[in-house]
Amino acid sequence: MSAATPAPAPATSGRESLVLSVLTNPLGLIAAILLVLVITTAVFAPLIAPFAPGDLQIFKINAPPGDGYLLGGDGSGRDIFSRLVFGARNTLIGALIALSVAAAIGVTAGLFAGYFGGRREIVMSWIADGLMALPALIVLLAFYQSLGSSIQVSMVIFGIMLSPGFYRLTRNLVNGVKHELYVDAARVSGLSDMRIIARHILLVIRAPVIIQTSIVAGISIVIQAGLEFLGLGDPSVPTWGGMLQDAFANMFVVPTAILWPGLAISITVASFVLLANAIRDRLQQGNRTASVSKMPKVEAKPVGAAPTESDLLLDIRDLVVGYPGKAGWAEVVKGVSLQLRRGEVLGLVGESGSGKTQTAFSVLGLLSTGGRILSGSIWFDGRDIANLPEDEMQKLRGKRIAYVPQEPMSNLDPAFRIGFQLTEPMMTVLGISRSEAKARALELLAKVGMPDPMRTFKAYPHQVSGGMAQRVLIARAISCNPDLLIADEPTTALDVTVQAEVLELLRDLQAEMGMSVILVTHNFGVVADICHRVSVMKDGQVVETADVRTLFANPQHDYTKMLLGAVLDDVTPRTYAPRTLKEISA
């Protein structure tokens, strides 16, 4: 109900289109081509390399490129190019081993821990944490004597040490999915756990696991090369890391020899990373808004002169609010005009997507990222605040225009005590001392109905109930005596009995302080309860504004009539016609 940002397009539909769109991304395409090249080289190494990797020619020790040795000779007189080609094979095999072990263990464990939870999850997570706390290279070095110089065995161990990455990723993904209602629906439908994992859960975790795989492939190549560079590999097997070791030994003679194996490693690893990025980009495409910088420039056009009536606090004229869309600005508020008198409560009512919240946020100057007031004026107390510079706007917020949000819990900072969150705005906005602010805060807490203000003052947000948190937010909003309070669905997240109390509180405070209120809501009952006047919104426009009694007694616009007709208040209950099981089964 709150923001008009479109729901992100689900990422996982269309298996073929994922591959295709990764390949249409230029970096993704380059990475894919490079990887295919490296893999082909590795597979057909004997056909590509002009020499066997072990062929020695004494007179070509540390030779410069040329004379059959494309990239020159190494410290033993072997062809660097041929060894690079064969090195690709051995490096990729090593990486593949680590990768398979890590993915097989990590994903399986993650699936089970995530789906079944309980003690199994605790044990597995503890093991994963333990493995992650070990410096992998040190462990591999320590095990070297017992594992021998076979780099493949080391890569199996390394795979085990990498498995926590897969485990955590998978478990978190499964934990996120398993409480989705569609998994519940599948269970109600009678699917077994195995089929739910196969049908519903694997689909969701597939893409992130592929991304992780690509990155782990890169890590494995680097670590493997590191081990070989340290001399822990089999010297008779040509590898990129082993070649670096040889080049290092001869670095003062031929510094360039360190380039080739290093480049081979870097390019291969970079390809894996770029491929992972391309997939990630593709998955995130749905939630990315178009860049504001590419949008057509707009010059907000103010409308008219300052209102002359002195009891008019807020006068919105022809307000247009837009967000960057694929085809220029997408307007979510299309020419809204509203007037609010001092001490008046105006209900802004409409269904989702009607633009009511966006209208309210433009008054606060707090549109979501990319949002702009494209035209129109917002006259607040004789001053046009549409598109006011941020630092000017900041001086108004809190002090003259305050805000009460919808969700009480997520709108308090979990890291700070309630007391701090109450005193901070007063100290900033009113410039009063800490002790003064504290005294006022305790007063306010008592005023909004806290039975023990001191206790609430000292509590953290998670220690109070939703209804109490909403009272705290209201206390904070009124703490600096604002002229205008913008309340965005302030009772929607609350239970009805709590809602009644909070509405009661808002009504009392409004009457006592004489402030004006814009109450954004979808609930006509709330409107009837607290508002003096009502504006009904539809598709970014106000279709009707009237005094609250007039509107309910005599709605003018068809849309208002339709909405009021849909209110379920006074229906005649259904009568039960007894049936028997036999009847139904028939």
Binding site: L181, T497, F552, V571, R579, T580, E583
Partner: protein, 271 residues
């Protein structure tokens, strides 16, 4: 077993650790009847619905479905008509797997219960979509291509796929806009009149419950505090809590709402 009860909860208790979420709950639903289950958050209404569905725990007590105890039996282990108990959940955006087509979604329960082959099941999709007033070409589209109300129709179609005798509806219209809400409720009523399916209709909204229910149960703190005919419970409640609940929900009429507000204040100070 009498023929006029489809589901009967007898002294159902559920505990999550030290939390006693359901306390000796007794409830009956008759064939073709809607029983509304109202309560605020934490009242246990959703827990009871999930217990009947077999996806939530039962610590003690019995849940008889057409005479057989199904308490604690997972859906896939349920036999006969109990296997066809279905659900419609609150959020139409998360109750349908975003990466499956509508056809895949509708076919899933039929194939899972081996009621028909995949081909036969696919042939039934058109009828199901028709029952919830969706066009038959909807089958090949994805959930994201539909609005909230349309998605909830798909969820209802899925619930109907096995021709159930009971559907547990957990806040099925509370995420919908006002105008959509009424149309979806009307669809529920129409389907019930036609097929004789019974609903256990869980909601926090008394006006929604009044609209669709034959009988209403009010829950608070894991207990049913009042259970009776819809008109009696929603117009002339006996229990204080029900009275408060009723008066706390604001009505869309400023004049009457002012009276109700005064009545609620009197009730609260009196109590």
């Amino acid at each position: 077993m009498s023929d006029d009860v489809i589901v009967q909860c007898i002294d159902v208790n559920t505990k999550f650790g030290a939390h006693h979420v359901l306390k000796n709950v007794n409830l009956t639903v008759r064939p073709g009847e809607t029983v509304g289950l109202v309560g605020e958050s934490g009242s246990g209404k959703t827990t009871l619905g999930r217990a009947i569905l077999g996806i939530g725990p039962v610590s003690s007590g019995r849940i008889l479905f057409e005479g057989n105890d199904i308490a604690g039996v997972a859906p896939r282990d349920r036999k006969g008509n109990a296997a066809s108990i279905q659900a419609v959940f609150q959020d139409p955006y998360t109750s349908l797997n975003p990466s499956m087509t509508i056809e895949d979604i509708l076919v899933e329960p039929i194939v899972a219960r081996r009621q028909a082959s995949l081909e036969e099941a696919r042939a039934r999709v058109r009828t199901l979509l028709d029952q919830v007033n969706l066009p038959s070409d909807a089958a090949y589209r994805y959930p994201r291509e539909f609005s909230g109300g349309q998605r909830q129709r798909v969820a209802i179609a899925r619930a109907l796929a096995l021709s159930p005798h009971l559907i547990v509806c957990d806040e099925p219209v509370s995420a919908l806009d006002l105008s959509t809400q009424q149309r979806v409720l009307d669809l529920f009523v129409e389907i019930q009149d036609r097929t004789g399916v019974a609903y256990l209709f869980v909601s926090h909204d008394l006006s929604v419950v009044r609209h669709i229910s034959h009988r209403v149960a009010v829950m608070r703190g894991g207990e049913i505090v009042e259970f009776g005919g819809c008109d009696q419970v929603t117009a002339d409640p006996r229990h204080d809590y029900t009275k408060r609940l009723l008066l706390a929900a604001p009505v869309a009429d400023p004049v009457r709402q002012a009276d109700r507000r005064a009545a609620l204040r009197a009730l609260n100070t009196g109590a």
